[in-house]
């Protein structure tokens, strides 16, 4: 380390007084070295573990990560990166990677019907079993409880005899056993002359033990095959339903149909009937989602309406918040006013209360039937506005609430900026007979506009994506009556994305990711404008 070389020369020059410190450093370096070596070994072990459970690509990624970490923490040239590395890694893994993954998903058919990867879907098919022996070979199950005690709390220890009977009336039974929490096991049965004494357990009890029964493999004394649960009370010999062929297609052992994977639709398709067989798998479909969004009647209509409302909503919010905030800031900056500090805190309160609480408070206050706002309006004017079912009123309500939530921030910003305006400008204006209006339009607003513009754009971008407000207040309702897609008249683009992804019965992740990609592009444009403006301001200040 060049640093230490330099320090050592300093040590030599200054003499013995530093010996203590360098001894300490010597010790602590050993501790760090040991710590680093241990971490390195732990990382290596983890990568090996990942490799062994069958993920060579993740293991490779881990190896690259470990290599980069080792380089960063040992090389002198990467010194600055020792400080940056953890934070940058977190940003890359949890911000950048999800963003890229989302954009990537926008080009796939990822959805609840095409949820699995191709390998997982294939292994799902290969795991399917069927009872090859037909109805005659099936065993009918009964459970006979051994009553140990009638105490309800003792149910966990309740023991049963598993008793099965085939179609010919031959029967077998097990030793008494605890079913609840029993592990997957092979159960050897003995021939039974007659059913065990006592009443057999009702269907309800059998259903309650389904989870355990599914893991049981029954073995009869004179039969090599295992019997497994095939129905609620039926055990049968189970065999794999599908066999994989050399070309990747699957043959159904029961009806000899062949399933071929279709990488265009993301489904195995039956050769005989041409039908898709669920579950599907995830495949790349190029611009399919974007085409659906922009050209299909089903999605284009709502998308256009939602986009317009998103822009209007964000723009009006910024305007209203700025007007209210600026007015209040101007009043509060007025020297003749007393109790400014009190007003300031009280006016700031809406911003300090957590958004999810105040938005829900408004949801309750605006409630059409039980809400206090309609109670007051009804008593004063005899009005009961339908805040949540009328599209226009719902939009007005959203703007009202959002202005309430956002004006304190604008107020605070404006107060700071107004304070920084040199007071001699107002003095000159007063000498020349300028009134309040002249001061406002000729001095305050022009001087404030430039520095506040980037903040207004940031606020616009924030409200453009103000998911929390929409989701908690209206949830996008009332829905469009003419749309099949889950879209409402107060939905903004992000809340629409959320509904397509997580609320729609289809759970269309791919389509939602495509909308997200569009929003990414829009926000990117906004933020570049913002960065440019901020830079211009910074340069003018110098």
């Amino acid at each position: 380390m060049t640093m230490d070389v330099a320090l050592r020369t300093v040590d030599n020059q200054v003499g013995l007084s530093r010996k203590n410190i360098s001894m300490q450093r010597f010790n602590s370096r050993y501790v760090w070295f040991a710590f680093g070596a241990l971490t390195f070994l732990a990382g290596l072990w983890l990568i090996l573990a990942i490799y062994r459970i069958g993920h060579p690509f993740y293991a490779l990624g881990g190896l690259v990560l470990l290599g980069a970490s080792t380089w960063v923490f040992t090389s002198e040239r990467a010194y600055a990166w020792r400080y940056l590395y953890p934070g940058v890694a977190a940003v890359l893994v949890f911000v950048l990677f999800p963003a890229l993954y989302t954009i990537g998903s926008g080009f796939t058919n990822y959805s609840s019907t095409n949820l699995l990867s191709f390998q997982r879907a294939t292994s799902y098919f290969l795991d399917q079993k069927y009872s090859a022996s037909g109805d005659e070979g099936q065993l009918t199950l009964s459970l006979y409880p051994l009553l140990v005690s009638t105490d309800k709390r003792d149910r966990a220890n309740e023991r049963y005899i598993v008793y099965v009977e085939n179609a010919q009336g031959k029967a077998w039974q097990s030793e008494p056993m605890v079913l609840r929490g029993a592990d997957a096991s092979t159960l050897k049965l003995k021939p039974a002359e007659h059913a065990p004494s006592g009443d057999k357990a009702g269907l309800k009890d059998v259903i309650a033990h389904q989870a355990t029964l599914k893991t049981l493999a029954l073995k009869l004394p004179d039969d090599a095959d295992e019997f497994r649960l095939s129905g609620l009370t039926k055990f049968a010999k189970m065999e794999p339903l599908y066999k994989q062929n050399a070309d990747g297609s699957l043959t159904n052992a029961q009806n000899h149909d062949v399933l071929k994977p279709d990488f265009k639709t993301g489904f195995y398709t039956s050769l005989a009937s041409g039908e898709k067989v669920a579950p599907g798998f995830k495949v790349n479909i190029g611009f399919g989602n974007f085409e659906r969004l922009f050209s299909s009647h089903e999605f284009r209509g709502p998308l256009v309406k939602i986009f317009i409302w998103t822009v209007v909503f964000a723009f009006l919010t910024v305007v209203f918040c700025f007007v209210v905030g600026f007015t209040l800031a101007s009043i509060l900056n007025w020297e003749g006013l007393k109790f400014k500090a009190v007003y300031r805190v009280l006016l700031f309160l809406p911003y300090a209360v957590p958004g999810f609480i105040s938005i829900l408070i408004f949801r309750g206050l605006f409630n059409e039937n039980f809400g206090e706002i309609n109670l007051v309006l009804n008593q004063l004017f005899g009005l009961k506005p339908q805040w949540f079912s009328d599209p226009l009123l719902a939009k007005i309500m959203l703007l009202l609430v959002n202005t309430w939530l956002g004006y304190p921030y604008m107020m605070l910003l404006c107060m700071g900026l107004i304070k920084s305006i040199p007071s001699d400008l107002y003095e000159v204006s007063a000498i020349n007979g300028g009134g309040v209006w002249t001061n406002l339009t000729q001095i305050t607003l022009p001087l404030i506009m430039k520095p506040i513009m980037p903040l207004l754009i940031a606020s616009f971008a924030f409200n453009f994506n103000n998911f929390v407000l929409i989701s908690l207040l209206t949830g996008g309702l009332p829905d469009f009556t003419d749309s099949i897609a889950p879209a409402g008249s107060t939905d903004i683009l992000v809340s629409y994305t959320y509904r397509v992804a997580f609320q729609d019965s289809g759970q269309n992740f791919g389509l939602a990711a495509a909308i997200s990609t569009v929003i990414f592009a829009l926000v990117a444009i906004l933020s570049i404008i913002n960065l440019k403006l901020t830079r211009v301001n910074a340069q003018e200040k110098r």
Binding site: V95, P98, L347, L360
Partner: protein, 296 residues
């Protein structure tokens, strides 16, 4: 500001006060109402804004105790509010610690060390603030679903996943801390270095103690940020016992199960401490942001 006083001055002051008070009555109406509603018996508007019969039933439910209603029926709390509050505090506390650790070291590098891509990195972080996590929800869900199949305590419906998902949100905090570091004279650290301290020692024993106030503020901001976060938590958490306050509170106001009074008490109980912490932290937030945002 120079004031030229004239006869109309007194009237103007009165008008300003009247206007401000009227505005305050309107804006604070929701808060006054929620207090009144939390003390009112029953879950529906009873025809008056000030409760006629005081009742602590909603508060008992919010605090996790049940109560006996008029007909002698025992009412249990509808939701585990205190459990949610604890979940929120736990997740937010760990998140804030992780975020503070990651952003402080990054901010040090950006403020004090010279390296390639420094300006680029700062700009990238600035831009990143504008892309909210809600846009990547699908990926976040898919990623933690995957992770969860190998490491259950980091999968869907775990608090570990939430902390990890929040750990990436350090861009704004790096700017805030860097802005503060820029105001601390570098000469003190240089003096320490001359006296034989390493970079890390100068950072740990000289700069950090001087930056303690901003570290407290960033911790609090990250803490509050995690407590009020809704979208990611709503996707990652499912079971009622696991929810955070931000996700759970919504359950009170379903049309089928409208618990207005119970919500009011729970909202005050959980909202008040967060509000107080935020009021304390915000004084420093704006100065930190603006001073950080102007300098490059």
């Amino acid at each position: 500001m120079s004031m030229v006083l004239d006869k109309s001055h007194g009237t103007k002051v009165l008008l300003a006060h009247a206007g401000l008070i009227a505005f305050l009555v309107l804006t604070l109406f929701p808060f006054l109402m929620i207090v009144s509603i939390s003390l009112r018996a029953g879950n529906f508007a009873a025809g008056s804004l000030i409760p006629e019969h005081f009742s602590l039933e909603h508060w008992k439910l919010a605090l996790g105790m049940g109560y006996m209603d008029d007909s002698g029926r025992w009412i249990d709390p509808p939701f585990p509010v205190l459990r949610w509050l604890w979940n929120s505090i736990k997740v937010a506390g760990i998140t804030a610690a992780v975020v503070l650790l990651l952003s402080t070291t990054c901010a040090y590098a950006f403020a004090r060390l010279r390296f390639k891509g420094r300006q680029l990195g700062l700009n990238a972080l600035f831009l990143m603030q504008m892309f909210p996590a809600v846009l990547s929800l699908i990926a976040i869900y898919a990623i933690f679903d995957q992770i969860g199949s190998y490491v259950p305590w980091l999968g869907i419906d775990s608090h570990g996943s939430l902390v990890l998902a929040y750990a990436g949100g350090i861009a704004m905090h790096i700017w805030t801390i860097k802005g503060y570091f820029d105001t601390v004279p570098v000469e003190i650290e240089e003096a320490a270095r001359v006296d034989g301290a390493t970079h890390f020692q100068a950072f740990r024993y000289v700069l950090l103690p001087m930056a303690a106030p901003i570290l407290v503020v960033v911790f609090l901001l990250a803490f509050i940020g995690a407590i009020i976060e809704y979208p990611v938590a709503s996707v990652l958490l499912h079971q009622e016992q696991n929810l955070t306050l931000a996700v759970g509170s919504k359950l009170y106001l379903y049309t089928q199960n409208y618990l207005w009074g119970d919500f009011a008490a729970a909202a005050i109980l959980s909202g008040l401490p967060i509000t107080v912490v935020f009021l304390f932290a915000q004084r420093f937030m704006l100065s930190g942001l603006t001073s950080g945002g102007v300098k490059g």
